[in-house]
Amino acid sequence: MELAPSVLDLNWQEVKMKIIRFIKDYFERTRAKGIIVSLSGGIDSSTVAALSALAIGKGKVFGLMLPEKETYNAKDVKHAELIAKKFGLKKERIDITPTLEAFYNSIPIFDPADNLCKGNIKARTRMVYVYYYANRLNMLVCGSSDKSETMMGYFTKWGDVAADISPIMDLYKTQVRKLAYHIGIPKEIVEKPSSPALWPGQFAETELGIKYEQLDLVLYGLEHFMKAEEIAGQLGIGKGLVEKVKRRWLATEHKRRMLLTTKIEYRTVGADFRLPRNTP
């Protein structure tokens, strides 16, 4: 198999329709009143919010913007507003800084210099807000995780990844960009560098140590059972870099699965209780 960028090309109209059907079908089965998306102004949440609106109709999708002081970026807020307007979303903006500060001040072992632990509080706090709104308004939470960050474990466990459905989780970041263009997400949103915005100056590609164009092909190779040497050889990159990506992918499986226990009884939750969702 040749690892050319074209392997990531899909029929974007078909992909769009597939995702729209998926969202609509799940939404209708659950009898929820709407869909809520944590709207950051980034490409993933913009794409998911737009697809949700296309699936279930304008006015039924709620974009919750949850900025905070430390990583506040006027451009991101402007982009989130732009998406809300363009796709007819209901919206609300809440500054979560006071809540975060309450956490920081009440945790005896809190270390402000530990960006990761502090950043995860932000992601999990946003999850609490989003799920409160979902509960209160009887809405579904639509997640925005893409396949690149999901495979790399590049998300906060029980934080930004928490959702009822994740419609773009089987699309790599570079594929999400193409889909985003296809459904009319503005260029300025599609092309800005990705950032989880957990601390100032945090950028996904810098942190992951690889450009998405390259990472997605490495992950695609791993998905297709290719060996590290083969991937490295084809992409003209070091085998060490491919192995690093592979190690990170395998090491973060615990973040992608739920409810690990040890088997004691006859049938076990998460192991051999194998039930379909949405049983009537």
Binding site: F273, R274, P276, R277, P280
Partner: protein, 277 residues
């Protein structure tokens, strides 16, 4: 026996685990087929229960004949129709052996069943976890000619439809629950199986979304020369009818004589090679 008749491809979505709702839908479409002067109506694989029912399969499976086939028999007797549909079949001899089966029911009641031989257990499929494979091909002599049954992944193995054809099948019916990522494979294979066997092939696929898995529909009737005679829509429920005329088989059998040219000794070699993979 009718040489010429009309068949209906009933491309439905199912309510997973709800046999009552699915039978109701099946009944409605049998009536619709009757109204449109069809003699045979075909429903997808596991259309009685839905495809992704996982551990519920043990509660849902029934013997064939059994309660659900009896209900369908009641309908076919009343409507004078033939019906093929898929369901999980519980063995009469044990409590936990289940087959992925197709049942054929006609105007005089139950005609026969086929148990899927090739059970996909890779990617999103987990059929071997739940089902025991069948060991027999199934061809039934009916008022609508000889009908052979195969199920979904069986079509990847040409020997299943070939055996049905060698047993005389004029119409091979493949009921299916194929997810969207496999569309190109099935479109090629359904045509290939019709051409190589010089027989009619009716393919009826599921639609809808079950546990995130989307089924693509695209049911079709293919003539013995590979021509697509009827084609249902992609990704949504559809109901199409089309004429089958068995007199079309003979000219193709003469023009592309694949059965005449069969080389039995190659099957021995195939067996040897397959045993030593």
């Amino acid at each position: 026996m009718k040489e010429k008749f009309k068949i209906a491809l009933a491309q439905i979505s199912c309510k997973c685990g709800d046999k009552t709702a699915n039978i109701k839908k099946i009944q409605k479409l049998i009536s619709k087929a009757k109204e449109q002067a069809a003699d045979l109506v075909i429903f997808p694989e596991l259309s009685l229960t839905g495809y992704v029912v996982r551990d519920q399969i043990y509660e849902l499976a029934e013997t064939i004949p059994g309660p659900s086939t009896k209900i369908i028999e009641g309908i076919t007797r009343k409507t004078n129709m033939h019906v093929i549909f898929g369901m999980p079949e519980l063995s009469e001899k044990t409590q936990a052996i289940v087959y992925n089966s197709a049942a054929l029911v006609g105007p005089n009641g139950f005609i026969g069943k086929y148990r899927k031989m090739y059970l996909p257990t890779h990617s999103v499929f987990e059929e071997k976890r739940y089902f025991r494979p069948g060991y027999q091909t199934a061809v039934f002599d009916t008022k609508l000619g000889k009908i052979g049954l195969i199920i979904c992944y069986d079509i990847f193995f040409p020997e299943v439809s070939r055996l049905a054809r060698l047993a005389g099948a004029q119409l091979i019916v493949c009921i299916s629950a194929s997810p969207t990522v496999r569309k190109a494979f099935f479109e090629a294979l359904t045509t290939a199986r019709a051409i190589e066997n010089t027989a009619f092939l009716a393919y009826v696929n599921l639609v809808g979304i079950e546990d995130g898995l989307q089924f693509w529909g695209g049911s079709r009737l293919i003539g013995p020369n590979g021509k697509i005679l009827a084609q249902a829509k992609y990704d949504e429920e559809d109901f199409v009818t089309c004429d089958v005329d068995y007199t079309d088989i003979r000219p193709v059998e003469t023009f592309v004589p694949t059965l005449k040219d069969l080389r039995p000794e190659l099957f021995d070699k195939l067996k040897e090679a397959a045993e030593n993979l």
